[in-house]
Amino acid sequence: MSKLGVFDVSVRYGKVPALTDVSLQIEEGERVFISGPNGAGKSSLLKAICGAVPTTHGRIEIGGMLVAGRPPEAIARLGMTMVPEGRDIFGTLTVEENLRVGTGIRRDRDAIESDIDEIYENFPILGERRQANAGALSGGQQQMLAIGRGLMTNPKVMMVDEPSLGLAPNIVDQVYETLIRLQKDRGLTLVIVEQSSARAARVGGRMVLLRGGTVVDEGDAAEFAERDLLKEAYFGQSAEEPA
């Protein structure tokens, strides 16, 4: 149902190609890391899938439904949610209002209140600050809010763009713990942009490496981490890309 298929997808910004003929299959309930250097097209891939940027070529299917060309609000209704890079919290809205923005697409209106309570159980700090302006939250809290906000759309697939960006390592650990727990509880399909192969290996999952707008390699995250360690040993520097 929530199987995600990307077939020969290209994206360009004006004349600049961002993605060229990218293909990718993601199974229901799978966890996939998208990695690669800056400018490799990681964010563009996520944006193309959720409809935030138009594709110039190829097709994208969610659960067998063709999505390329549909507006983002229609794709959200197919069970796709996005936690963007930089989080894009609505800073002038309260924490609770942020959580409610995405509930308009749900048919199970009765479950919304209990879902909000569940989010507050998962993220107690959000519960404490539910009436505060979301712009006043710390970076880590905003990341939690962005994830919670995405969950409130009741998604089948959640895409998270660089959850570790600008966060202290212990907070990043918390974010990942939460994501894994949520995935287990809800059977979510997770697609995460993560630059660090070491962290991806610790969390576990498949890794897809992009470079110059194309998929150059894919496999188990642990293998990637091992290879990166090896490179580090040979070349004496971290093979991980700076965030």
Binding site: C50, G51, A52, P72, E73, D88, F90, T92
Partner: protein, 304 residues
């Protein structure tokens, strides 16, 4: 004499009209970065909808004959309808255009509406008597005030409170606020762009109709050019208030109304004809000190 309460009522009622007109512009700017210069023509359209189409100098009431309880909702709906129609016919096709291109289109749309009115009703201003009883003075805390002024002040309060409640308490209100801050993110969460934009245009058009009813009762004239003057002041109010900020639009509307009334009262007689020059100097000073406006709105994010 009771010059101070009198001034207060003058300032509040003029400010109320400006505030409502400015709100109509700020609402649309908030969700789609469009300064809709056709807004003044929505007002003129609503005024002319009150009378029988003809080029005669004396206006015969048409819609205006309906009892107030019927007329008010009809005219509000008519204002909403022309605004929504203009979105559907013009602005919907320009979602990806630059704000400048959209603004110029709004000028063009304004001219089309104005010239259509010109064609049907002629260019001469027409005397029109809608609710003449409202201009009878009543005595309030020692000041002699036309009943209409009090109604305008109350109506502005009702409109502002109703709008605040709508934005704060309803689903479409929440979606509009989210979309005004970050349209793309709101859409990624399933907020329908068309619903939010249509909603903003409908509210904006209804506000134009409210302004139209007040202006026509106050002045007793239907004039093809009446939209342009109020549009100018309302636009300046939205800029001073901070483009896109609704509280800013209201505050600045009242501020300009008050400043205008106070200048009129206290300038030396010889200087009074140049009141607007003083008024706009004051506007320039405000913008020099706070170029982002009194209430800086959250950054103008890319549309759709």
């Amino acid at each position: 004499m009771n010059a101070i309460p009198q001034l207060f009522f003058d300032a509040m009622s003029l400010g109320g009209i400006y505030a409502m007109a400015a709100l109509g512009i700020a609402l649309i700017f908030g969700v789609m970065n469009l300064v809709n210069f056709a807004h003044g023509e929505y007002i003129a359209f609503c005024v002319f909808a009150l009378i029988v189409p003809s080029t005669d100098a004396v206006a015969v009431l048409f819609l205006g004959k309906a009892p107030a309880l019927l007329l008010i909702p009809i005219l509000l709906a008519l204002g909403a309808a022309i605004a929504v129609a203009s979105e559907f016919v013009v602005f919907r096709h320009m979602r990806k255009a630059t704000p400048v291109a959209m603004m110029i289109s709004s000028f063009a749309l304004g001219f089309v509406i104005q010239n259509s009115l010109l064609l049907i009703y002629g260019s001469r201003p027409k005397a029109i008597s809608l609710w003449p009883d409202l201009n009878k003075p009543v005595s309030v805390i020692g000041a002699s005030v036309p009943l209409l002024q009090i109604i305008v002040i109350l109506a502005t309060l009702v409109v502002v409170v109703a709008l605040a409640l709508l934005l704060k308490k309803t689903k479409i209100g929440l979606e509009m606020r989210a979309a005004a801050e970050n349209f793309t993110m709101a859409r990624l969460l399933g907020v329908r762009a068309n619903v939010v934009i249509t909603g903003a245009f409908a509210l904006s058009g209804a506000l134009a109709a409210a302004v139209a009813m007040i202006m026509v009762t106050q002045t007793g004239v239907a004039d093809i050019r009446m939209g342009g003057q109020i549009m100018l002041v309302a636009f300046i109010a939205t800029v001073i208030g901070g483009l896109g900020s609704l509280p800013g639009a209201v505050a600045a509307g009242f501020l300009i109304g008050a400043a205008s009334v106070i200048l009129q009262a206290f300038l030396p007689l010889d200087a009074r004809p140049f009141r607007d020059a003083f008024l706009y100097t004051f506007v320039i000073v405000i913008l020099l000190v706070r170029p982002q406006g009194l209430f800086a709105a959250h950054s103008a994010k890319p549309r759709v």
